[in-house]
């Protein structure tokens, strides 16, 4: 078919060896039996969901988790093959898989690559073993190094390393050390986030606004360990780390292209840029979100419901795979265009706004843009409205103003 629309695929693998103390993703440890039943159901889902995407070509795939690499290699290749068979995938599509240090073998990596994966995203978070321990990670820096070598040896030439700043006990010095160690490895892409203390995580119990003393899921030992963690760096130090990241990575040849994402030229993550620029995407697997045909919805987040779900009857399908279904109005699309697009350093294109909505951006947001410019939070450059550095620091304040 000619002129197919672009779309992206996200595939969620919820299993991990152990949940980290800061993690609020939909993930949990799973045994062999669960992994097998999940793979089978996911294959079933791929078959049914793909039926709705005949007019689309897939330009990127992201297999995330949890820890996708925790699946058996044959399970993962079965999933990749199913995607290849059921969807029309662009030959140049970016296909990323998350692989956590300590869970990948050379053999598996070669199989992934053979099945089409061309980008590996590795969750390192910190190069300091003590800090890794605070986060509840299962690996050391040395183990990461070994995994990283395997990834390179398997022939992956597009690798991302995830890092987290402002973690317990971290100093500007130790953060700089992490950045140094990682840039020496020359990954193509680095995601460097400031820690977000999310509700429902052990970190929230320890560092959140409302300290909840009753968390049944924790043993006394775990709780004592959690409460003995050092304090988080304060706000000033957190910003210092952020500025350092930007400066240091720039020196090392990494350009910041989004609030927390850095890459060598041409290695920006196309999949994620899709999220920020309104490309449609279909989520597959437990709890994953979709944005298709102007509608947002997500799959059930209940593992049991997902496993027992049937794709046969439309009613039940919709109940499990079209949750919180909302059709976006023009206004809502404009809002998203702004607050997602502004995450990109280049900003939002005034021209793009007109071609998307048939209205001049100034017609909708003129006074707000002027006010924010006056406050030194935004600037107009070559037809793009973008955040200033100060605007990035307080981007929630800026973005909330674009809600209509």
């Amino acid at each position: 078919m000619m002129n197919k629309k672009n779309m992206e695929l996200y595939v969620h693998i919820p299993f991990c060896a152990r949940k980290c103390a800061y993690c609020d993703f939909l993930s949990f440890p799973g045994n062999k039996r669960m992994q097998q039943e999940y793979t089978e159901q996911l294959l079933e889902e791929i078959k049914y969901q793909s039926a709705y995407t005949r007019e689309y070509q897939v330009i990127s795939i992201f297999i995330g988790g949890g820890t996708p690499s925790i699946l058996e290699t044959n399970q993962m290749t079965a999933i990749l093959n199913a995607l290849n068979n059921q969807f029309d995938i662009h030959p140049e599509a970016e296909i990323t898989m998350e692989a956590n240090p300590g869970t990948v073998t050379s053999e598996a990596l070669i199989q992934y690559k053979r099945a089409g994966v061309n980008r590996i995203s590795m969750g390192l978070q910190s190069a300091d073993d003590k800090e890794l321990g605070y986060l509840g990670r299962i690996h050391t820096y040395d183990e990461f190094l070994k995994s990283y070598q395997r990834v390179r040896m398997a022939g992956f030439d597009n690798v991302n390393v995830d890092l987290i700043s402002a973690i317990p006990g971290q100093t500007v010095e130790s953060w700089k050390n992490t950045l140094k160690k990682v840039t020496m490895l020359k990954p193509e892409h680095i995601s460097a986030y400031s820690l977000i203390v999310e509700e429902g995580t052990p970190f929230y119990d320890r560092y959140g606004d409302h300290v909840e003393m009753d968390n049944d899921s924790m043993t006394r030992e775990e709780r004592r360990r959690l409460m003995s963690l050092p304090e988080l760096p304060d706000e000033d130090m957190e910003r210092e780390m952020y500025y350092l990241t930007r400066e240091f990575l720039k020196e090392q040849g990494y350009e910041r292209y989004e609030i927390s994402n850095y890459s060598r030229k041409g290695y920006e993550c196309r999949h994620n840029i899709g999220y920020w620029t309104g490309v449609e995407y279909l989520g597959l697997g437990l709890g994953s979100s979709s944005y298709m045909e102007g509608c947002r919805y997500h799959n059930t987040a209940s593992y049991q419901d997902y496993i027992n779900g049937s794709f046969e009857r439309k009613e039940e399908f919709d109940k499990l795979f079209r949750q919180e279904f909302e059709h976006l109005s023009i206004e809502e699309k404009m809002e998203e265009y702004m607050f997602l697009g502004l995450r990109l350093i280049e900003g939002v294109s005034a021209h793009g706004f007109v071609s998307s909505f048939g209205q001049n951006i100034r017609h909708v947001y003129g006074p707000i843009l002027d006010k924010l410019e006056q406050e030194g939070l935004m600037e107009l450059k070559e037809g793009f409205y973008r955040l200033t550095e100060r605007g990035i620091d307080i981007s929630n304040y800026v973005m909330s103003q674009f809600l209509l």
Binding site: E235, R239, I259, F339, D393, N396, L403
Partner: protein, 604 residues
């Protein structure tokens, strides 16, 4: 009406402290007198406003007429007149009492007598009512009837040994109360042929009938078609309907004569024309004298009420007008604030009255309100001889023009168990109280008497009292008069700009402390903004306290991917919603609840 019938009327009220079971007993009486079947009973018939039910108090006095067939074989008409249960409504209570011939005193058999019970009993005795006690909640394990009987006899000095011991909740022994009402409460007197003299104890606005006036006929007879005059307000109307109060309904009848309690309607449009305490008489054959005790109701507490959404100013005015139809004690007039825009300065009987009105506006009229700090009426005497009644701190003249000021003082009675006497005395002292004396009710309970400035008790005194006595203290007050006082206006400056809606009048001695706490409180309430914001308290231009809200340093979500977008948007919406509830003052955004923060400065 024949004398024999007058003989078989009993007009009474029930006096009780909040929670001692007044409404429950009233329900049982209505049930047992058989006018209604159990099935028809609402849980609480007398309290028919939701709000009242939730708070467990009765705001508007009402009355119910039932028929009781006594053990002597005769049928008696019971007119049970309900009384409001809060110190704010003391005057209404006194008028309700004046409409009765006797009172049933309900005392919780485990709690004993409370300050407010005592105040109402004294008020009843002042009105020459025959009061007889009933011990309620006798079924509770903690009930100590013997102790409470002694307490009643010692403290109030009325016979209590044969007091019926009942459980209004279960209905246990309620018959004994009914018999006691027949035996102990005197039948009304009064000559049906005399010129009409009837006491208004309540009124109610009904959109079909107009104002419905509740009254007790003391002398004479009133019937449909009579031309009547309200002696104090001067309103003259033709009576359209007279009748009795069924439970929850109006039952029209031919006429009402001396000793009877009922209602009339007369196409009256405004409850202001039918003031509580006024006397109804015939226009063409008036009685010689109005009944004693009438008082013009005056507002004790004032505050500004503003719509959160300025566009709803007219809705707020309409709602206030509607509430006023039913509530002559509610006062309001338009005012403008630089910070809050257009709104109203409203006057109330007390803080509870204020809260009730505020809640009704929000609940029944769906209005979102900003309330400014409540204040009392100050008398300002200017050097040029002028006297000003100040209800809004913003209107205070320049200090150089002021000779002196006076503030309202109340006489307060606080009943408390002896272990908390120290804590309560300390509280009263902090609130500039003048100790008048203490009486021991019994070994473990004392009645403290203080004179207190009204402006010290309207904010949070009641809460403070409760928290410092673990809920055991009870409290009653009445206005004593005005006294000269060292008062100053405390201004609050946010980012160097005075915020008129945050100004308040305070005693010079507590100004510094109040100013400091106010700044601290506002520092917590005002969110960080793009720039640093000084918050200052000032008296006459002199800064006495300062806090700083630091500039917003960081407000950024590090991550936002496909699965986060909806959640992220909700977060931004919340942030935007929060902004909506802010008031722009200069270039600073102040959350609306900050304007009420002055209310809660006692953090103990």
């Amino acid at each position: 009406m024949a004398a024999a019938q007058q003989n078989r009327i009993r007009n009474f009220c029930i006096i009780a402290h909040i929670d001692h079971g007044k409404s429950t007993l009233a329900d049982r009486i209505i049930e047992k007198t058989g006018l209604l079947t159990s099935r028809e009973m609402q849980a609480q018939i007398l309290d028919n406003m939701d709000l009242e039910r939730e708070r467990g108090i009765t705001i508007k006095a009402q009355a119910v007429r039932t028929v009781y067939k006594a053990n002597d074989g005769q049928e008696y008409v019971f007119n049970m007149i309900d009384t409001p249960g809060h110190v704010d409504f003391n005057y209404e209570v006194s008028r309700s009492l004046a409409a009765c011939d006797g009172a049933v005193l309900v005392v919780d058999a485990s709690q004993g007598i409370e300050a407010q019970t005592l105040a109402n009993v004294y008020m009843a005795l002042d009105h020459d009512l025959d009061v007889f006690p009933v011990l309620n909640k006798i079924d509770l394990p903690s009930a100590e009837p013997e102790r409470v009987v002694e307490e009643i006899e010692d403290v109030i000095g009325i016979e209590a040994h044969d007091a019926p011991r009942i459980s209004a909740k279960t209905g246990l022994n309620v018959e004994a109360v009914l018999e006691a009402i027949v035996e102990k409460i005197p039948a009304p007197a009064g000559d049906p042929e005399a010129p009409l003299q009837a006491l208004i104890f309540d009124s109610l606005y009904d959109s079909y009938k107009g104002v419905i006036v509740f009254f007790r006929v003391k002398e004479g007879t009133v019937k449909r078609g009579d031309k009547v005059r309200m002696m104090a307000t001067g309103a003259v109307e033709e009576v359209v309907e007279v009748g009795y109060f069924g439970a929850g309904q109006f039952l029209p009848c031919e006429e009402l004569s001396a000793g009877m309690v009922g209602y009339l309607t007369a196409s009256i449009k405004n409850v202001k024309d039918t003031a509580v305490g006024d006397t109804i008489t015939h226009a063409d054959r008036p009685c010689k004298q109005a009944l004693p005790g009438y008082k013009k109701v005056t507002s004790m507490v004032y505050c500004g009420l503003y719509p959160s959404d300025g566009a709803r100013y007219n809705d707020l005015r309409d709602a206030l007008e509607k509430l006023q139809l039913n509530d002559a004690s509610l006062f309001f007039e338009p005012e403008t604030s630089l910070a809050l825009g257009f709104g109203f300065r409203c006057g109330f009987l007390g803080l509870l009255h204020l809260e009730v009105i505020q809640e009704r506006l929000e609940r029944e009229y769906n209005l979102d309100l900003v309330t400014t700090a409540p204040g009392v009426v100050y008398h300002v005497f200017k050097k040029n001889g002028e006297k000003l009644e100040l209800t809004n701190p913003s209107n205070l003249p320049d200090p150089t023009e002021i000779e002196y000021m006076e503030e309202p003082i109340v006489s307060a009675e606080i009943m408390v168990t002896t272990e908390f006497v120290g804590a309560i005395m300390k509280l009263c002292q902090e609130r500039r109280g003048v100790y008048l004396g203490m009486e021991y009710m019994e070994a473990t309970r004392a009645l403290l008497k203080y004179e207190l400035p009204l402006n010290e008790i309207i904010y949070d005194f009641f809460d403070a009292l409760k928290s410092r006595s673990r809920g055991y203290a009870s409290f009653d007050y009445e206005l004593k008069g005005y006294e000269k006082s060292e008062l100053v206006k405390l201004d609050i400056l946010v980012n160097k700009e005075e915020v008129d809606a945050l100004s308040f009048i305070v005693h010079a001695e507590s100004a510094y402390e109040r100013g400091r706490r106010m700044c601290e409180k506002l520092k917590d309430e005002i969110p960080r903004q793009l720039f640093e914001i000084p918050i200052q308290a000032a008296i006459g231009g002199k800064i006495i306290a300062r806090e700083t809200v630091k500039a917003m340093r960081k407000d950024v979500l590090a991550k936002c991917y496909g699965g986060d977008i909806s959640r992220k948007k909700k977060l931004l919406e919340k942030q935007k919603e929060g902004k909506k509830r802010m008031r722009q003052v200069g270039n600073v955004e102040i959350p609306q609840k900050a304007f009420m923060s002055v209310l809660k400065l006692d953090d103990e």
